[in-house]
């Protein structure tokens, strides 16, 4: 059922009327949700951006679903990055001390090694992800997209009414 929903989401997103840029922006924001620990304050902001900005909601869900396991896999790297930044870089201690004692910032859990490492990684990767996804959607629509729309699989998968849920947020 989950796979079916994912396929529906992928098809409906890739074939939506949204521009490749909107789909790619949604996927890049979704990658943020997947790569960083979900129950973090900054993800509330990312989720609000996904809803408010005119990006592909379906793309965001795909990005989230795809990058969640990637986040689990990269946790040791994030931990190491966060450790380096929080504990092994004395020149940054002043910045962390200021943020730690400021309102709201501590709620983001930035002083956790995994959260900070994944947040930094996601931020650095946001633009590369965006351009890569935009190129990918472009290529897909120019090559395999038209052919896939004629296949039975596409019609079967997209026939479900569940697809309509995604259309609420379709750009």
């Amino acid at each position: 059922m989950f796979l079916l929903k994912l396929l529906q989401s992928i098809f409906s997103t890739l074939h939506s009327e949204g521009t490749p840029g909107q789909v790619a922006a949604g996927m890049a924001l979704g990658a943020f949700l997947g790569l960083t620990p979900l129950m973090s304050f900054h993800n509330l902001i990312v989720f609000a951006l996904i809803c408010l900005l005119n990006v592909s909601f379906g793309g965001a869900m795909i990005g989230w679903a795809v990058f969640t396991p990637v986040g689990f896999l990269l946790d040791p790297l994030f931990d190491s990055m966060g450790h380096r930044l929080l504990l092994d870089t004395p020149s940054l201690t002043g910045l962390w001390t200021t943020l730690y004692n400021a309102p709201v910032f501590p709620l983001t859990n930035f002083n956790n090694t995994v959260v900070l490492g994944s947040l930094l990684f996601s931020t650095i990767c946001f633009l590369p992800f965006f351009f890569f996804f935009r190129w990918g959607v472009d290529r897909y629509r120019a090559t395999a997209g038209a052919w896939l729309m004629k296949t039975k699989l596409y019609h079967v998968v997209t026939a479900s009414k569940l697809v309509n849920v995604y259309k609420w947020f379709r750009p």
């Binding site: 521009t19 909107q22 620990p37 129950m39 609000a48 809803c51 408010l52 900005l53 005119n54 986040g71 689990f72 946790d75 040791p76 994030f78 931990d79 966060g82 450790h83 929080l86 504990l87 092994d88 004395p90 201690t93 962390w96 001390t97 200021t98 943020l99 730690y100 004692n101 400021a102 309102p103 709201v104 501590p106 709620l107 859990n109 002083n111 956790n112 090694t113 995994v114 959260v115 490492g117 609420w168 947020f169 750009p171």
Partner: protein, 607 residues
């Protein structure tokens, strides 16, 4: 796509999806609703997870009630399992009711102005194992931080290490003489200290020998003595008017005096060095005595020294008390590090990797946690309620400027604790004295249980830096005895025969040294009685075992000690002999020269 569509300009894309505002608003409402419905449950789960991570044992809570409007948090049915004992709780509380400050919550800081804790009970039994196995990465402990650098977690946790190792480090003697036989194991030479001491002394003796020989050679007294003797011979034929010869004689006497001073000074140095080496020789005998004691401890020879009997009987129980105190003090130090250095601690467990959370305290700011004042109501033997006061429990005493204190005073109870982490060297003390209370049973190692009944007990514990000072005293005049369910062993039977008629207990256990090298002494009124009894029952075997051990240690140590002693004697003797010879020659030359001079001048003293 139609031609019209192709030619039409691209539609302008709006940046904001305004139609999503309503769903987001609904989502926020759902969040508020979820907080109202599940907020208490979420806070309960967070408190349980954070408590479990902090204590290293399961923390369970029946329910929690949070009122953000009233800034009030009430915890019902708190249970904290023991991190050391599987089926025991450290404490249980019926209710914790506190007032917290709301604004600091936006900075993730919990400041509790007032807390009332009621129905606290300690050491209650539980049905499941409450210990939590810490992941290796999470067994974090604050290491001594470098200046300006965050205190990184190190492994393994010192608290855990203390729990696991204190008993091992104390090397408590066994009381196992099952079937009346005494097992004498093999000596492990690597654990004996005589060899190292002998090698060290041998090296020192060789080094001293080389240094003394070089110093004696450096004196170069030979040419001076030869010149003096030659001058003495020349003076035989000299006339009293030969002023040059007289002057030469006076100069030579001066040179001889100077050489004598140097030789005397070297003699004093050699005497001091020889004395040092003799101390080393005495140290070899001490090392041998220590090795004998170590050998006895290693092979679990049931020593007949009453203090060792006391340690064998009550050492385990005493170590357990001290271990527990040390564990909680270590935990307090871990979460309340001195100073304002960034401090890392393991984050609560979650589905993804937990990582490490670092606190960055800032001067004149609030600590991450501060319980200002707590009124505590507790029971000790399920019959009476006692009241106590806990003040300034915090994660940073450098910020609050106050040490954490606890005290409770009642006619029969005096409890107090002070955790002072304001200075670089933390000082933690705790003491408790209970009079006329029902004392807990003590399981002795021989399968015998001591039921002390009503009596008095006191525990004092202090960790000053890494220096330990602790004492545990138990007194009872109504002692009874029982067999443990494990069944009686031969040792147990002996202990039972001796002790079952004893109705009083006067026990004192003292811990000293450091956490890494502790020392335990235990005395009780039962020691001598048991020692005498064991001696009469096992005297011959014990004597034989002791002789065997002594022979083994002699066989191991004497061949090491004897050559070193000889070497020391030879080195000091040679040096003193050479020096004595030089001194004799100088004195002889001086004497001859003075005689010639006197005969030349006719006994008249020259200016």
């Amino acid at each position: 796509m139609t031609a019209a569509a192709k030619s039409a300009p691209p539609a302008r894309i709006a940046w904001v999806r305004w139609k999503a505002v309503l769903p987001i608003g609904v989502g926020l409402l759902v969040l508020v609703l979820a907080w109202l419905l599940f907020g208490n449950w979420m806070v309960k789960r967070v408190l349980e997870a954070a408590g479990t991570a902090a204590v290293g044992a399961k923390v369970d809570i029946d329910r929690v009630r949070v009122s953000l409007l009233q800034s009030r948090l009430t915890v019902y049915g708190l249970t904290v399992a023991s991190p050391k004992e599987a089926f025991k709780n450290t404490l249980q509380a019926d209710e914790l009711d506190g007032d917290f400050e709301t604004l600091p919550l936006f900075r993730k800081k919990l400041i509790v102005d007032r807390l009332a804790a009621t129905g606290l009970r300690f050491g209650t039994p539980r049905t499941t194992d409450g210990r939590v196995k810490r992941p290796a990465a999470d067994t974090a402990e604050t290491a001594a931080p470098a200046a300006g650098k965050a205190a990184a977690p190190s492994q393994p946790s010192a608290a855990t290490t203390a729990i696991e190792d204190l008993t091992d480090r104390l090397n408590i003697p066994g009381l196992d003489f099952s079937q009346g036989k005494i097992e004498v194991g093999a000596l492990d030479p690597s654990k004996l200290s005589t060899a190292a001491a002998a090698r060290a002394l041998q090296t020192r003796a060789d080094s001293s020998s080389r240094a003394w020989t070089a110093a004696i050679n450096d004196l170069r007294t030979g040419p001076t003595i030869d010149s003096a003797m030659a001058l003495a011979n020349r003076l035989k034929g000299a006339k009293p008017t030969d002023l040059a010869a007289l002057n030469d004689a006076r100069r030579m006497l001066s040179l001889l005096s100077s050489a004598k001073d140097k030789v005397d000074a070297l003699g004093r140095g050699i005497a001091a060095g020889a004395s040092d080496l003799q101390h080393g020789v005495a140290g070899l005998d001490s090392a041998k005595a220590h090795d004998l004691a170590t050998a006895r401890g290693l092979v679990h020879l049931p020593a007949l020294d009453p203090t060792q009997i006391g340690a064998a009987l009550f050492g385990g129980a005493a170590a357990g008390k001290f271990e527990t105190a040390l564990h909680w003090v270590r935990l307090a130090r871990r979460y309340t590090p001195p100073g304002l250095v960034p401090h890392a601690a393991p984050a609560p467990k979650r589905v993804r990797r937990a990582g490490v959370t670092v606190q960055f305290p800032r001067e004149h700011d609030l600590p991450a946690f501060w319980l200002k004042d707590a009124a505590v109501s507790f029971t000790l033997d399920s019959t009476k309620n006692y009241d106590g006061r806990l003040r300034h429990l915090t994660t940073s005493q450098a910020l609050t400027g106050q040490p954490t204190t606890f005290n409770a005073q009642a006619p029969a109870v005096q409890l107090g604790a002070l955790l002072d982490h304001r200075h670089p060297t933390p000082l933690d003390t705790a003491s408790g004295a209970l009079a006329s209370v029902r004392l807990p049973d003590l399981s002795l190692p021989a399968g015998v249980r001591l039921v002390p009944g009503m009596g008095s007990m006191s525990l004092r514990f202090a960790l000053d830096g890494e220096n330990l000072r602790a004492a545990w005293e138990v007194k009872s005049a109504h002692v009874t005895w029982a067999h443990d369910s494990a069944g009686a062993s031969a040792t147990g039977n002996i202990v039972w025969q001796v002790l079952s008629g004893v109705s009083t207990l006067d026990l004192t256990a003292q811990l000293s040294g450091t956490a890494s090298s502790p020392s335990l002494t235990v005395h009780s009124n039962l020691d001598q009685a048991l020692s005498d009894r064991i001696r009469s029952l096992l005297g011959d075997q014990v004597k034989g075992a002791e002789q065997k051990l002594t022979a083994e240690v002699d066989a191991y140590a004497d061949p090491l000690i004897a050559p070193v002693k000889s070497r020391v004697t030879a080195v000091t003797g040679d040096a003193q002999q050479q020096l004595g010879a030089s001194q004799g020659k100088i004195a002889d030359a001086e004497k001859q020269l003075q005689q010639r001079l006197r005969s030349l001048t006719g006994g008249i003293k020259l200016p």
